[in-house]
Symmetry: C2
Subunit: 589 residues, 2 copies
């Protein structure tokens, strides 16, 4: 026993297995000064993006701004050890922030207990999924459902920022009431907030153009040209930081002059988060949630959030692996984000996953290894240590602009046209996801979308196409396998055909497309066999796959015969061939 | 517009359609004295069975005994008008009683508000399902899941009666605590209850043998022999009534002698139920449930109970239709039980469906048309009007014996052996359903069972078998269709094969088993096409189904070519055949 354990241990703990689970062991020994240079530049650039984004996304998650930064650094460290893709950066994202707000909105404003427990549970679920190798479950979320989910999430998030942009107060959270009250309260708009938001948006969109500019490629660039292009790219990339810092500066100056015109961020706890086990109950003022109630609040978020997180990381990872010609191991990615969430929950992070925009920044900044994340993380910790006292100066309208500019690109209505032209039936899951995301909430939208697309996948099993060639006997061809959802239907159709013209006829069922039968099918065939015996007619199965025949033989139906082809079966029915001659198996007793 | 409406109306309201929806119009005009005789005898015999069963099942549903009778008569009347099978009798069943206790246990002992609302909602769901023709949803409950569900329900119900049999008080409802406390409280057993229950069980099992006795068939029976056989059959069939009446008589006599030894039924409201709209809120003592809370209590019972009800009726209906050579219309049955539940909720019924045991009694008693139900219903109403004052005399141990004897037959462990021999993988859903029925509760058991069997059905779509024949190019054959769950996996496999030996190779993908592609597949193929173009190799699809080819052509992949056979495809890759010659479609631009 002891020896077996040791053997098993030594089998799983081979060098190659450990290296697979700890990818850092592969790249660290080969680490070079060149790589370090690339990683430092990329790490700093990503930090410039993630700090303003984190502060902004925290408000989408209905949390105080520092939680955006708490969520931003631990993922970088963990991913450096466990990640397989050099480009991916983990951290807060718009969609995960929305998910946090959806499933873990605390009854106490600004309290993160629920969100942090969600992070821990999300991490554990992802980690266990990785160990069980069931990450393929995300494959059951189809492209139209995912696209529709992202579009409606982006609309929800963007519209969620409109009241903040306009400086409106006391707007409800649900989508339609929010639209209604935002319109109704339009006259209460804070013109300064509106103006600041508008200016921020214009700057953000302009600077994005700068980042994406395609310069003419020539070989004879002067050093000056090279540097100026690089500077323009850096300015474009750090547009969020520029907008937030400038807006905060303006606000600070105005406040120092006793002009307090902008709506501002509140509730900021200075300094670094403490490292401690998440709390599993909530006591604040007159609100108390026991551990049980807390988990009840999270509900099926415990299943949805880990999957959404996984799908985001995998989608991003695959896109960049294709672009930069490397392979990612989906299961290892799941392990990495699971670990990042588990560890993150100890420092008050809300659920994190791979961020598309920052992964792109990372890649374009020339990152060489996952070590880039170390520098990003270090800068974030520095910011938390030093900058928190300045956070209350950040105008909410500037953060709203950052979010709106970030998510507006995720709205992707072209998919509707694509589906209309290519595959109209896929518009059904798209529409279901979209409509119910707004009517019932984003979490029900995706669940119903997945449900309807699975239904469309399963329907042919329940109502398989049955081709009927009416020769002198009924010849019935099944276009699908025969498994439990279709058994009742097929047996009924066969019986009906055998009785179609008022007299009982023999029947041939062509099994050429049946690659598997289950116990429900065996019971159905037993019924059929008895029905045909009672009517004193013959039931012959033709073209039966050898594996299927094995199962049927074991079931030993007394009145079913098997033939190689439909023609043989018909001949057999007419008595022109002796059963022994043509039948694959002769089971009459 | 008005005319269109009228046309549409006249189309749906044809005589044949009306007759289909109201089957009574078909059989009533042909009704004869002979049929009346058969229906009266069968109706009375069924009433003799349903009255004691109803009183007993009400306790399974955690309701006072009269609710079993409230639930027993309306179904008979409604089914007489809407039902298609002469044999089926609707009313309270063991499983629906357990479902009522599971989903609609009132916080107030003896209050039926929740159960009645469940009846109404269950009826509405079934009615709507009938109108939408989505009754086929029950086909997704496979034989192993249903069998396991029935077995664990029977065990739950039977064990639930043990404390009543033994006269134990204050036993918790959940299964394992119930077992624990029953064992712990064994010393408190009321010996009189134990004895009465034991005697009742012995009588019930003996009389059932009498009912099922197979007499030697001879033609020269004397009238006396015929009559005595008939009497024995009637005694066997009315065994429940005999046991309950006798036990109540004994109890009444003992009570009149001031000997009060048996645990007895309590809370009986005399007389007929009043006809009124179900209440949608509950106020009783210090318990208050608003409409919203009430629906929250019912939870996913609103989805599960209608389906279980449908599956019971359909299974029974089909079994008897096969036995007695007629056809039932599954959708019309759904309509009938839906209507029965809707109307039943107005007289305080809990959810009803077809009862297997009473349908068998009905059939064997020689019922001729659904009119038999009228007589059953009339007798039940009479019993309610006259007998309710006597109900408190019924010893609970006798009712417990009736239930145990009724459900013990539903325990069906032979299925495990059947599955082991025939199809081992189907043991998985069986076991999941069984284990979780006890661990989490019967409702989660069936849900998880359905989940796992759907998963087993879907898994081959996510990980389709991919056969690889390595000739000089990679030839990849898909054994399944290409739809969203498998797209990522297939594209990865194809890419990996094309890069297998360290150099980029061209590939042929054999599409002969692909009968459908969706938009996710199109996106996957687009990626593949780009990947092969980037590597400057060729990707050829062979054996493409014409319908699939149509969809692919619309998507217009610039780097995918199509050939009729794998051989042609390989020739094309080696440049031995000009593309125009063999390709079905030539889409290079």
């Amino acid at each position: 026993m002891h020896q077996q354990c040791r053997q098993c241990c030594s089998k799983t703990c081979t060098a190659s297995n450990v290296r697979k689970k700890l990818p850092i062991l592969t790249w660290l020994p080969k680490y070079s000064v060149g790589a370090l240079q690339g990683d430092i530049i990329a790490g700093l650039t990503v930090a410039l993006t993630v700090i303003p984004q984190g502060l902004a996304y925290a408000s989408v998650a209905q949390l105080p701004p520092q939680y955006g930064l708490y969520s931003a650094f631990m993922g970088c460290f963990v991913y450096c050890v466990l990640g397989t893709a050099k480009d991916i950066t983990l951290g807060p994202t718009a969609i995960m922030s929305l998910m946090t707000a959806t499933f873990a909105t605390s009854p106490v404003t600004g309290d993160a207990t629920l969100a942090v427990v969600l992070t821990l549970m999300c991490g554990i679920v992802q980690f266990v999924m990785a160990i069980l190798h069931v990450g393929f479950l995300v494959d059951f979320i189809s492209v139209p459902v995912m696209s529709s989910f992202v579009t409606s999430a982006a609309i929800t998030i963007a519209f969620g920022q409109v009241p903040k942009w306009l400086g409106l107060k006391d707007i409800p959270r649900a989508f339609f009431p929010k639209v209604y009250w935002t319109c109704k309260k339009l006259p209460e708009t804070n013109v300064w907030d509106l103006l600041l938001g508008l200016v921020s948006l214009v700057i953000l969109f302009t600077l994005r153009r700068l980042q994406n500019v395609k310069w003419r490629q020539t070989d004879d660039l002067t050093l000056g040209q090279k540097i100026s292009r690089k500077i323009l790219w850096v300015v474009g990339t750090s547009r969020n930081a520029i907008v937030v810092v400038t807006a905060s500066g303006v606000a600070a100056i105005l406040i120092s002059q006793d002009v307090d015109v902008f709506s501002q961020t509140t509730h900021v706890q200075p300094g670094l988060p403490s490292f401690s086990l998440p709390k599993f109950s909530l006591h604040s003022g007159n609100v108390t949630l026991s551990t049980h109630q807390l988990f009840q609040e999270l509900g099926f978020g415990l299943a949805v959030v880990p999957l959404i997180g996984l799908i985001e990381t995998i989608a991003i990872g695959k896109a960049f692996a294709r672009k930069n010609n490397y392979e990612i191991d989906a299961n290892q990615e799941l392990l990495a984000i699971g670990a990042a969430n588990i560890v993150g929950s100890f420092i008050g992070s809300y659920p994190v996953t791979g961020s598309f925009s920052r992964t792109a920044v990372n890649s374009e900044s020339g990152v060489r290894t996952p070590a880039g994340g170390l520098f990003t993380g270090a800068v974030i910790i520095l910011a938390l240590a030093v900058l928190t006292p300045l956070f209350p100066y950040i105008p909410t309208a500037a953060l709203a602009a950052v979010i709106i500019a970030a998510v507006i690109n995720m709205v992707h209505f072209r998919m509707v046209i694509y589906l209309w032209k290519r595959k109209k039936v896929d518009l059904v899951p798209w529409t279901v996801t979209f409509v119910f995301s707004f009517v019932l909430g984003i979490e029900y939208g995706i669940l119903l979308g997945v449900g309807i697309s699975l239904f469309l996948l399963l329907y042919p099993w329940a109502r398989p196409k049955v081709k009927i060639k009416h020769q002198e006997v009924a010849v019935i061809q099944l276009s699908n396998g025969l498994l439990f959802p279709g058994v009742q239907y097929v047996t009924e159709r066969v019986n009906r055909q055998a009785l179609a013209d008022g007299i009982a006829k023999s029947a041939v069922v062509d099994f050429s497309h049946v690659t598997d039968v289950d116990s429900s099918a065996l019971q159905g065939l037993k019924q059929l066999s008895e029905d045909f015996a009672k009517r004193d007619t013959m039931l012959v199965l033709s073209n039966v796959d050898p594996e299927v025949l094995d199962v049927l033989n074991k079931a030993n139906f007394s009145h079913i015969k098997y033939c190689k082809t439909n023609e043989d079966a018909i001949q057999l029915i007419y008595g022109k061939l002796p059963p022994v001659h043509t039948c694959l198996v002769h089971s009459t007793k």
